[in-house]
Amino acid sequence: MSIEQSVRAPSSASSGDPPAPPALAVRGLTYRFGGHTAVDAVDLDLAAGEILGLLGPNGAGKTTAIRAVVTLLRPAAGSVRVFGMDAVRYPIRARRLIGYVPQMLSADSGLTGRENVALFAGLFDVPRRQRRARVNEALAAMGLTDVADRLARTYSGGMVRRLELAQALVNAPRLLILDEPTVGLDPIARDSVWAHVHRLRAEQAIAVLLTTHYMEEADALCDRVALMHTGRVRVTGVPDELKAAIGARTSLEDVFRHHTGDALEGGGGGDFRDVQQIRRVASRAG
């Protein structure tokens, strides 16, 4: 499709061409639930072909930030631009560029895998003549061809997650947004999801924004990470550089501790234990 061809050039190209707009530019994004500021003046930048991980414990505001970026929530303040498109003013237009997989495993259980993907092909105006081929491609890319005609309610968690990726990809989105894509999956399914995400990035220069609280996973697999805590992005950078900046043989968890410092080491250390606990629950669920 022409969409894919036209996007190949990464926005960071240092030639004399006019710079392409970044995949995502978030400025001062703020969202409040009543008096509680869940997302507080968050800035995020993402280039085409880049994987940015939004990290933090539960309650840090990651999911709320993501939901504002995908136009589900209208921010109280700030701007969201998707490839230069103002997503707050023109949500329908911006959505055409976005593939979104929410935190919950959420395929329509009353439809087959193929019907689930075909629905999204229809909702994104994939041309009728290409639809069947594109649906098959998306299913094949996620390794679901053999089970495509089974009802989604018979799928395992890992299969539903891959089905959701197929749904999100059938539109050939330029920006893929994944909210906790691997939570609740067993290690094999988790590796498979990551392998698929990396292949998409390599083959289509797709930009990926994802949230996770698996620090090691983010360390190994994201190009850059943004550490979020109590609604704010505390620090953004390349994992190795962030670690090197605070000392040798450090982990992203140390980086997190370093930048959120007092909150964790003082009385308010609950947040991080929270994460550990969720991780345990998640692995049990998987």
Binding site: A20, G34, V88, R93, R95, R96, M104, S106, L111, E115
Partner: protein, 293 residues
Amino acid sequence: MMSSRSAVSPAGPVERADPPSPLSSAGIIFDGDRDGPFGAARLLFRRFATLSLVELQKLRHDRVELYTRAVQPALWLLVFGVTFSRIHAIPTGSVPYLDYLAPGILAQSALFISIFYGIQIIWDRDAGVLAKLMVTPTPRTALVAGKAFAAGVRALIQVAVVLLLAALLGVGLTANPLKLVGAAVAVLLGAAFFSCLSIVIAGLVLSRDRLMGIGQAIMMPMFFASNALYPVSIMPSWVRVVSYLNPLSYLVDALRGLLIGTHGHLVLDFAVLTGSAVLTIIVASALLGRLAR
């Protein structure tokens, strides 16, 4: 807590007609985008068609539910209808009571199957499906209208079963295909109204249990304060007022006029049914953002 939330952020993102894309200069063409006065209507219709088709697919995978659901209205006709026509207590003029009752039971089955339809939306919300649909370039009215269509089709299938039973019981039904089509349209509109009313309640109470409670609470009064079982003329005056405000009465009136040939007020009936369906679709769409939060 709900109210303080909505005070800060009163509505979801406002969907307006999109401007020419800044991306089109970068060679990105959006298939299906036709900006201009008809763009929004076109998009709405396309999405409605897509979503309706999917609802039919879902129905195909789950047919048992439809048949079991037809049991209740069938019993109303068989037990209540047959018994009451023996009593001759209800003044229905020259029309036998069973004939008079049959359209009322058809309308009732449309009401009963649709009034809990909001539960589907809450399921979709809880399963994360709703959020995913709302992040596609789909107007919210199309999402709601698709659900309304699904409720309408379910009601129609049930109505067909009851209609067949009524014919077997000797109810004098019309054989005029145009009138049958008209009756089908009336059922679709009625079911659309009841299901969207249910979605409106879902959008307000945000929980399955409370929706069930409210649905139960309004279902029977709507049924009894209508002309489904007996003529409006024998009601106390205050019930009569409720009956006139009750869209179910207009559905019954339309079905009676079309199927049995009693004196109906078809223009008024269809105007009320269409108006109330459109109104609830709009209100339900406006409340969808609350469900996605």
